[in-house]
């Protein structure tokens, strides 16, 4: 019965780690992908909490659609946070 706690601990570390990575990383694409990972973690949490409806919603909307909309926004704006050197090159190349 006790070994049941191991997957939960792994899940907790995965979710919080992805959240911290999403905030810290400079590359927005990585940040957006880790937002998807957080939603995945949440979906598994909901599964453990005996809430299948919410797990399905979180998987369908949180992981798939939110990540896609973020990525489309990145395509329309810059891919790197702050005035990163790639930003300059990209802006230079563009204008």
């Amino acid at each position: 019965m006790i070994w049941l706690i191991i997957p939960i601990i792994v899940l907790v570390l995965l979710t919080i780690g992805a959240a911290i990575f999403a905030v810290v990383t400079k590359n927005l694409l990585y940040a957006v992908v880790s937002t998807g990972v957080i939603s995945l973690g949440l979906s598994l949490f909901f599964f453990i909490l005996q809430a299948p409806d919410v797990a399905l919603t979180e998987a369908a909307i949180g992981v798939a659609l939110t990540t896609i909309i973020f990525i489309i926004t990145i395509r329309n704006t810059t891919q790197y946070e702050g005035d990163h050197k790639e930003n300059k090159i990209e802006k230079g190349a563009k204008s």
Binding site: A51, P52, D53, A55, L56, T57, A60, I61, A64, L65, I68, I69, I72, T73, R75, N76, K94, S95
Partner: protein, 239 residues
Amino acid sequence: MIKKVLVILLLAVIGFYLVDLLAQIPFGEKRDNVGDYYLQESVQSLKVANAVTGIVVNFRGFDTLGEVTVLFLAAMGLSSIMYRKKKKGDKDVRAKKPSSRILQVGVQIIFPMVVILGAYVFIHGHLTPGGGFQGGAIIATASLLMLITYRKFKVNHNTISWIESIAGVVFATLGIIGLIKGMSFLENFLPTGELNALLSGGIIAIIYVSVGFKVAAELTGVIDTVLLNNKPDSNNENN
């Protein structure tokens, strides 16, 4: 730098409040609340196997009506914010070279399956986990798959607005029929059949199917609006 310290301080205060509060709420303990009544009623009078669907559509159907409006307004607000007058030089912004052969064949196989899965999820909303929102979102991901893979695939905004409006009108009129029949708004006026049968739950099944269509059309419209709006041209003219 001071800003960061201030933020950390504020977070510490909020965190302390939250932890202190949650410490007094035991986890996993049975609390007497409205949930038991819903569980008991959804079996006896609604004959709906999935109690959560029973709550979302019938007991708290007004929330779902509000919910569908929120999504409708988000789609409308999004396209009004992203609105750009159509100019001649508008080229299709999607990838220039067509996607790889493997992806195209793969999508041909996956697309119908995902659409069927989505349809299954929202048709069996009142029996198995899932429902209108989940099924609609799954179908939206399927259409997204097509949008990304095939450049020729165009989402027809006319049909989307037709599906959206018809599904919304079906939901609202089902509610108003309850009102016309003298009962209250959104009341279940159809016979509810027996538990775990496909046609059980009266208007709940019909409402959730219309919500499924509406959410599928809306999310496809949202994704299409955001995906196909033009990347600012090189001279970055703003309209």
